[in-house]
Symmetry: none
Subunit: 148 residues, 2 copies
DNA sequence: CTATACCTTATGGTATATCATGGGTTTTTA
DNA sequence: TAAAAACCCATGATATACCATAAGGTATAG
């Protein structure tokens, strides 16, 4: 949850927001990050969730389907474990940082069970885009959410 | 639940009205707040309610769908947990206060399972708008009740 | 019926704990 | 052996927890 702006220092270190850490901490001290398939940002989650995603893909698509191959290749070929130190920092790789265009500031955006990391500029644009998009389709959304 | 005016101090602290707290207190001491999509106000609810919404979205859309991506970003990127202390206060963030234009007074308005926080001025306008809306529909309402 | 005592709630202030961030040192590895 | 990564400690800022006071409301006793 929440959106948090943290600095990336000269060594490439960045603090994982404490709220984010809290979710993982009980189990371990590591998360998994990979390049987003659809946006110029990094995605992160627990390894547990990624495993779950793997089985979901296996169930959802044909065993021999090209789609499954592509998705698994893209995500699992890219995913890398990051352990955070006693102060809660991780060191992102060049590949990830470059994909998201991050240099000195990382924006952590909560997504429930996973999160994303953006540059301030790109996130600002993305947020505006989403808001416009959702407002346009609001009737549908309202019907769905009003169910509860 | 009625409408309650509370002060916001220099640090952004504001007392959650006791009636509102009572609903949550049995379970926990925290609520979730986020910017309203459609109005200049803050919305609040229990985390439970937000989780429910999240699972609904997960069920209604598939993992890689753009809709799911948009909704989870919008909801969880914006929402933040607020734990209230022994005196029942929470500390609202700059982002939330700014969105609602709140400086020194917060108006709490009950909305069933959730609530809203307005400035006195904006709430006055909103209430007038709602009243006008209801009056517009009054003929229909009257015919219905006269039938009994 | 009124006045007082008690309880709840809001609000102001303060201290403590937590977190993000910077720098230095050691250990690993390429 | 040089560079990078893991580890450790220091510090300033900030949020959180706690205490004290004030105000309003209710119940009970006189």
């Amino acid at each position: 949850m929440d959106t948090i702006f943290n600095k990336v220092d000269a060594k490439g270190r960045v603090s994982l927001p404490s709220d984010y850490r809290a979710i993982v901490k009980e189990l371990s001290t590591e998360i998994v990050c990979y390049r987003s398939l659809t946006a110029p940002c990094i995605e992160g989650c627990t390894e547990e969730l990624l495993d779950k995603l793997a089985t979901e893909i296996e169930n959802a698509t044909d065993f021999f389907s090209e789609t499954q191959d592509n998705l698994t290749n893209l995500i699992f070929g890219d995913a890398k474990r990051f352990t955070f130190d006693s102060t809660g920092r991780i060191m992102l790789t060049e590949k990830l940082l470059k994909h998201a265009n991050i240099t000195d500031t990382a924006v952590f955006v909560g997504k429930g069970r996973k999160f994303q990391i953006w540059t301030p500029e790109n996130w600002e644009k993305e947020e505006a885009r989403i808001r416009a998009e959702v407002l346009k389709n609001r009737p549908t959304l309202t019907r769905k959410t009003e169910g509860e």
